[in-house]
């Protein structure tokens, strides 16, 4: 009984992974085919980039603030408060910035895509598109995946900057550290080896958010629960996938660093 169940759920899992891979494959074969829906791409960029900015900014700011406040006592105990900018800078640029921004976007954009495409599927808007001669995969899926892929790194950069600013404010108030000193400390501790991998990672994060959201929405079950489920599982699967990508990215970056 138990083994049967695990085999079944394993099968479900593998089919899901296979389907997503197939979906990704379709993305890569279709993305270079004309026509390219540039206008829709820009519209999606605006929706995903600009409209997430406030959320990402506020979260980044709070993270920077809280992170600094929390680590301050410990560093103080070692008399190493002067290291705060380096520590905050490295952890935000390398890890916290990308992953927090990606998770926020998985929640906002991923579920948004899942729900939007899901309801379009359920209300036959996707079919309507198909019969009116527009390839819905190109129009809906490719534009969205590209938009998340390109917008996420930018959101990450802006989120990083705001988080660092939040951290600076704490240091400025509590430790009387000037803007110039804070940021020169941050940048002196950073290397290209910190910035480049995390930027590349952000592209993959964006791709994952778009891919899973679109997959879930595009293959949504008919019915209203289908839409909810699509939105919900888009977030869950994306978050999971984000951590997997993060893990792989760290491994790969480490490998490159060693070489």
């Amino acid at each position: 009984m138990g083994t049967q169940k695990t085999i079944n759920s394993l099968q479900v899992f593998l089919t899901e992974v296979g389907d997503i891979s197939y979906f990704a494959g379709r993305f890569f074969t279709d993305v270079f085919k004309r026509p390219f829906e540039f206008k829709e791409f820009l519209r999606q960029c605006y929706n995903m980039g600009n409209r997430s900015l406030l959320l990402v900014g506020v979260t980044g700011f709070i993270i920077g603030l809280v992170f600094t406040l929390q680590s301050r006592p410990t560093l103080q105990e070692f008399g190493a408060v002067a290291w705060m900018p380096s520590m905050v800078g490295i952890s935000i640029i390398r890890e916290i910035g990308p992953i927090i921004t990606a998770l926020i976007c998985a929640g906002r954009i991923g579920s948004g895509i899942g729900a939007e495409l899901g309801s379009m599927r359920v209300t036959e808007q996707i079919d309507a598109m198909e019969v009116s001669g527009t390839n819905p995969f190109k129009y809906l899926v490719i534009t969205r995946i590209l938009a998340t892929t390109f917008m996420l790194p930018i959101l990450v950069i802006i989120g990083d900057a705001i988080a660092l600013y939040g951290s600076y404010l704490v240091e400025n108030i509590k430790g009387d550290v000037s803007f110039q000193l804070y940021f020169s400390e941050v940048f002196s501790s950073l290397e290209f080896g910190d910035v480049i991998p995390s930027t590349i990672k952000s592209f993959f994060f964006g791709f994952a958010i778009g891919l899973v959201g679109c997959y879930k929405g595009y293959n949504c079950d008919k019915g209203t629960e289908g839409v909810g489920l699509a939105a919900n599982s888009a977030v869950v699967y994306t978050s999971l996938l984000l951590f997997v990508i993060d893990f792989v990215a760290v491994l790969v970056a480490d490998l490159f660093y060693e070489l």
């Binding site: 026509p35 939007e116 309801s119 379009m120 209300t123 036959e124 808007q125 079919d127 309507a128 598109m129 198909e130 019969v131 009116s132 001669g133 527009t134």
Partner: protein, 250 residues
Amino acid sequence: MKKNTINSNAVITIRDLKKSYGDNYVLNGFNLDLYEGENLVIMGKSGSGKSVMIKCLIGLEEHDSGTVIIMGKNIDDLDHDELDELRTEIGFLFQGSALYDSMSVRENLEFPLRRHTKKFGEINDASPLVMEALESVGLARAVDLMPSELSGGMKRRIALARTLILKPQIILYDEPTTGLDPITSKEIVLLMKSVQEKYKTSSIIITHDVDCARAISNRMILLVDGINYAEGTYEELVEMEDPKIKAFFK
């Protein structure tokens, strides 16, 4: 038998269409001929497979077996581009209107024009076409509204305008009057009639609505158990004694 001959006048011919979802055999050898300029009404119980049939017809669903010939072309033989081109000649009014929620009425109407440029050439300003289509459904004032701001009946009419904008030769209506009050239903029926007169279209109309069927049909097909159970004019069918047919006209 009329059933198996292919009439040269037919714009759409369906032969022995089969479609199943797993164990659910929805269509078991459905046949249909649509003649030029005619309004063919298809009736059937909910869940009998009417929508599935019409989607197989236009290539949105793949059928398991059988042939579908539209204006002399077997849709199985067409590649994607040819199918797209053929679809410019077919308007499809979806059961739930299927307006694009994220676009205004104008953008909804312009949407089909984006790719079907072969028929019209490059369109610089779609406005006249949009307004013409909107005027023919009597909703020119709604041009800058969003779908969420429209009532169900208005949505239906906008959806009709969206199918009309390509000036199709064939229009497929999936339950155009369902969910509307009798007065609005009547308006829609009148609209369909006027469209048919204006654009000289051939139409397949799926409906449960007996009044609608009587008002608009030249000929009717009853879809029961996945086949074309009975065919004839409204008057012929009403006269039939079969209890399964009688059930429709109570």
